[in-house]
């Protein structure tokens, strides 16, 4: 049966098994959360069906930020189109750029010089660190911990300044280009990167003491909002949510791109020193541990940075990709971004289908919400960590 409220059709057909025992269930109430609710991290509207405090079902209504990025890419030349993908996940713009660039390079068979590959790795990992700092802090904020959010923003701000120095942007960079990167880096800057890494690492205990192992935070997140392995795989969930459910999957390890095979790092899965595998706490913990792994990668990349050119082939105005297609995935902070790129040999891409990891990650809440308390819905949304710009593209 499809219910309809305010013109919104709710899909409850196959999920109509009862959540509460019949003798304690009361009247059902359907109400609306968002699109301006602070914990929805953007403009997300969730229509929930509840019985008292218990959520029976929900339907996320997305599309408020939709600008049809794919159509924009089809109507611009290669060089013009690239800055638009930055706007998908504005908290990890470099990871979005590399998603598109890798697919085009694979289809056009462009070789990228080693130094450019390493610079991409440094930049993407820096972006992952600042994005995870934001996500972890934001999750703490959702759970009622205001201070750790400010502490993490302090380090994030420094990370942004480090990237800003080379790319010229604070959030949206347009740094990675087809065939390489735009600007080379100096020895001085590499020193700043290492200093930033040391600083984040030295503050990690502080974050853990303040937030991760905080008693209230543990009560709110450990064992709450379970997403198990099977559910993750069925819904196409990737990234820290999937690894938080104990699945060993990381595109950087499984299908290495941009020289990730040169670096020694561990794949973080749910550590489970508190809570259970697949709960909100483990997803948060995976993010913090991934920051440390990213720092490990950055240090190795800075140390081994080869001395070659930074852009092999200048893809300039009027460049045309030869006819062909490719599908390449890469690991963004929120999951696997991939692009199915098809070229017909013209000066515009024929089709660039972007996979937004958050799009699939958020679809899982339609199932996981069942039986949660309304307050735990916030833990679910916060720990899945979506960026609406990328859900809606």
């Amino acid at each position: 049966m499809t219910t309809e409220i305010q013109g919104v059709k709710l899909d409850e057909a196959e999920r109509s098994t009862p959540v509460l025992p019949r003798d304690i269930s009361t009247d059902e109430l359907v109400f609306n959360m968002g699109p301006q609710h602070p914990s929805t991290h953007g403009v997300l509207r969730v229509v929930m069906r509840t019985d008292g405090e218990v959520v029976l079902g929900c339907q996320p209504l997305i599309g408020n930020l939709h600008r049809c990025c794919e159509k924009i890419l089809e109507n611009l030349t290669y060089v013009q189109g690239l800055p638009y993908v930055d706007r998908m996940d504005y908290l990890a713009a470099l990871n979005m750029e590399i998603g598109l660039v890798l697919a085009v390079e694979r289809a056009a068979e462009i070789e990228v010089p080693k130094r450019a590959q390493y610079l991409r790795v440094i930049m993407c990992e820096l972006n992952r660190v600042i994005s995870h700092l934001f996500s972890a802090g934001q999750f703490g904020l959702d759970m009622g911990a205001f201070t750790p959010f400010l502490y993490m923003f302090r380090e994030r701000e420094e990370g942004i300044s480090v990237i800003n120095e080379v790319t010229g942007g604070r959030l949206l960079y347009h740094y990675i280009r087809y065939g390489g990167v735009t600007r080379d880096v100096s020895k001085d800057w590499l020193g700043k990167v290492l200093k930033f890494c040391d600083r984040v690492e030295s503050h990690m205990d502080e974050y853990n003491n303040l937030l991760t192992y905080n008693h209230i935070f543990l009560k709110r997140s450990a064992g709450v909002a379970l997403i198990d392995r099977e559910t993750c795989l069925r819904f196409g969930v990737t990234g820290p949510v999937l690894r938080g459910a104990g699945v060993k999957r990381d595109v950087r390890k499984d299908m290495p791109y941009s020289s990730y095979e040169d670096f020694d790092f561990d794949l973080v899965t749910a550590p489970c020193d508190e809570g259970v595998v697949g709960d909100a706490w483990n997803r948060h913990r995976v993010r913090l541990l991934e920051i440390l792994e990213s720092i490990r990668i950055i240090r190795q990349a800075v140390e081994k940075l080869p001395d070659t050119e930074i852009a092999h082939k200048k893809v300039t105005r009027g460049w045309k990709a030869p006819p062909g297609e490719a599908y390449v995935a890469s690991e963004a902070p929120r999951g696997e971004i991939s692009c199915y790129f098809v070229s017909d040999g013209g000066k515009f891409p024929y089709r660039a289908r972007m996979r937004g990891p958050s799009f699939y990650n958020i679809s899982v809440i339609t199932q996981t919400c069942r039986g949660l308390l309304i307050g735990d819905m916030i833990a679910l949304l916060g720990s899945v960590d979506i960026t609406l710009g990328e859900v809606d593209r």
């Binding site: 499809t2 013109g7 059709k9 899909d11 057909a13 196959e14 997305i62 599309g63 939709h66 049809c68 794919e70 159509k71 089809e74 694979r106 289809a107 068979e109 795989l233 069925r234 819904f235 196409g236 699945v247 060993k248 999957r249 390890k253 499984d254 299908m255 062909g324 297609e325 490719a326 599908y327 995935a329 696997e336 991939s338 199915y340 098809v342 089709r351 289908r353 996979r355 799009f359 699939y360 679809s363 199932q367 809606d392 593209r393």
Partner: protein, 153 residues
């Protein structure tokens, strides 16, 4: 590309083409056999996750492209393509076996107008319910106004 051979062995009538060269490997199957083909990938080739559903408009035909993936080191994407006519395009849904197809197919319907028969909830997902047309079609005409909002430049 061992999965292509497995697929054409298991479903010789359904497989139309196996492309194992170039930068993108795929198997083209008949639209009505997409559910069985995906089942073979899951049971015999280790596909565990539907990674992406993409729609394509080639002006004379339409395509739906599915990418599957296994969860293991050194894996490659397994790609199935189906080709359908441009007037009244319709493909059986995968959403009963692969929950990820639920939203992926809704998006494909929304932006390209490809119907998925048997889909439990095939409504627009990104665009408003009263939007006219499907923007990613190559012959899409841009609206001039929406509810009194001027959309021309």
């Amino acid at each position: 590309m061992s999965w292509g051979a497995t697929l054409s062995e298991a479903l010789p009538d359904a497989v139309e083409e196996v492309v194992a060269e170039g930068t993108h490997h795929f198997v083209r199957v008949k639209a009505e056999s997409i559910v069985e083909a995906a089942g073979v990938l899951r049971d015999k080739c280790g596909a565990q996750m539907l990674h992406q559903v993409s729609g394509m408009d080639f002006e004379d035909r339409m395509e739906v492209v599915y990418h599957f993936t296994a969860i293991e080191p050194g894996t490659e994407f397994m790609c199935l393509k189906v080709t359908i006519g441009r007037d009244n395009p319709e493909v059986p849904t995968l959403s009963h076996e692969w929950e990820a197809a639920n939203w992926g197919e809704r998006e494909t319907w929304d932006l390209l107008g490809i119907r998925f028969s048997g889909h439990p909830h095939l409504y627009r997902i990104l665009l408003p319910e009263d939007w006219e047309g499907h923007p990613l079609r190559k012959d899409y005409e841009y609206p001039t106004e929406y509810h009194g909002i001027d959309c021309t430049e």
